[in-house]
Symmetry: C2
DNA sequence: GGGCGTCGGAACGCAACCGTTTCGTCGTGA
DNA sequence: TCACGACGAAACGGTTGCGTTCCGACGCCC
């Protein structure tokens, strides 16, 4: 499941500080109930977006999920494990590599997907938060790095490689710099500047400019 | 005082969890003592880098600064006011606009300055943290936006304008997009990827590629 | 020279979480 | 049919920070 997918489901019940109506619904059996697990997962995303990793508490998660603390501790040993598990889960799903036949076309497609994911406030709230936390916690940093490598960065790498074999880029192109040029601007605009909406034609112009930059390497 | 300057001073005594030896040094007079104020300011930076805004506590700041909580509360009403004050103070000092006569040269100079500032771990730790917090707190967002406008973004804007009048860029250039192209990649590399060290020639190549991107707009 | 106000220190009551334990309930798989 | 174990709820003692209020010490400014 993608971040975006989580975000969509979340918008239905995010930001409810008060206790859920859910009343002691069904009780359990001798097996961890998947619906409870899922409720916790969703609650973590909501909580993460609402208060951030540092302020997030197990009690708060359980409260929001409408479950007992025990249900959480039965599954994860700590807040850290919980978040690492979620981030890793997101990292698993690889994005399909675009193949339009041209560098600019590939970039355009990548930007389309990326900007759609970043458009969800939840994603763009959680991302910088985990990113800041990563500066202090190597485990989070590693998980995030992995997620990035298998997502945005992986796709970008594929695009560069394809363009290189195609002859659109010089063979000696600095790949690391290329990835920075590709991923930087949209992240800056969406997450740092936090521009609410990208103007019409922005992604196209961005793709064109970036392609030009890469060819100048 | 710049972030970098703070960073330098900080490296001397950051990450000392234990109580300072400082023993009930001099007592005060009927005036706020500037050295105490400065000690608090420095402590806030250290604390911000060490634990982040969310986890930062007034008690922790006072402890680190070797002062009483009262000294802090006497100056600022809350953690938020304290941080806003600091961010604003940084925002005040404008960077000088580069003027090398060429777009690429100007960019190169800007990157030199920016990367030097971001090289300090303290700055690159504090930045994403405040940035994440800004997503939740409009006041912080505003302060950060202002600091950015008077810093990196302001300089970039000047560079674009100069290039435009010089004829290096087309008159109709999308300024917002131009700023994203200029600022995004280095931020991505330094703060998101957290690359410890930029390889030789990186900034030059980045400036060249970015200039090419801008000219393609 | 004296008073005002800051200094660090300590304590206040309050609140939130921590991680664990105990409890009665209850559904499911053997 | 029935025991196992997950369920929500509540409470445990401990820690941390909140924001405020005292306190005695001290020294700058009038």
């Amino acid at each position: 499941m993608t971040v975006a997918a989580y975000a969509v489901r979340m918008t239905t019940n995010a930001d409810e500080p008060q206790p859920r109506p859910r009343r002691r619904a069904p009780a359990g059996a001798a097996v961890l109930r998947e619906d409870v697990t899922e409720a916790i997962r969703a609650a973590v995303f909501e909580e993460l977006a609402a208060v951030g990793y540092a302020r997030m508490s197990i009690e708060g998660i359980a409260r929001r999920a409408g479950v007992g603390k025990t249900a959480v501790y039965r599954r994860w040993r700590s807040k850290l494990h919980l978040v690492l598990d979620l981030v890793s889960a997101i990292a698993v799903q690889g994005l399909p590599a675009p193949d339009t036949g041209s560098l600019e076309g590939d970039l355009r497609l990548l930007y389309e997907v990326t900007s759609r994911a970043l458009r969800h406030p939840v994603a763009s709230q959680i991302l910088p938060d985990l990113q800041a936390e990563a500066a202090r916690n190597p485990d989070i940093a590693e998980a995030l790095r992995k997620a990035l490598r298998e997502g945005q960065d992986g796709v970008a790498k594929g695009i560069v490689a394809a363009a290189e074999t195609r002859g659109d880029l010089r063979p000696g192109t600095d790949h690391a710099l290329a990835l920075d040029l590709i991923s930087g601007p949209l992240y800056w605009r969406s997450v740092v500047i936090r521009s609410p909406k990208l103007p019409k034609g922005y992604l196209g112009a961005l793709a064109r400019a970036t392609a030009a930059a890469l060819k100048a390497l």
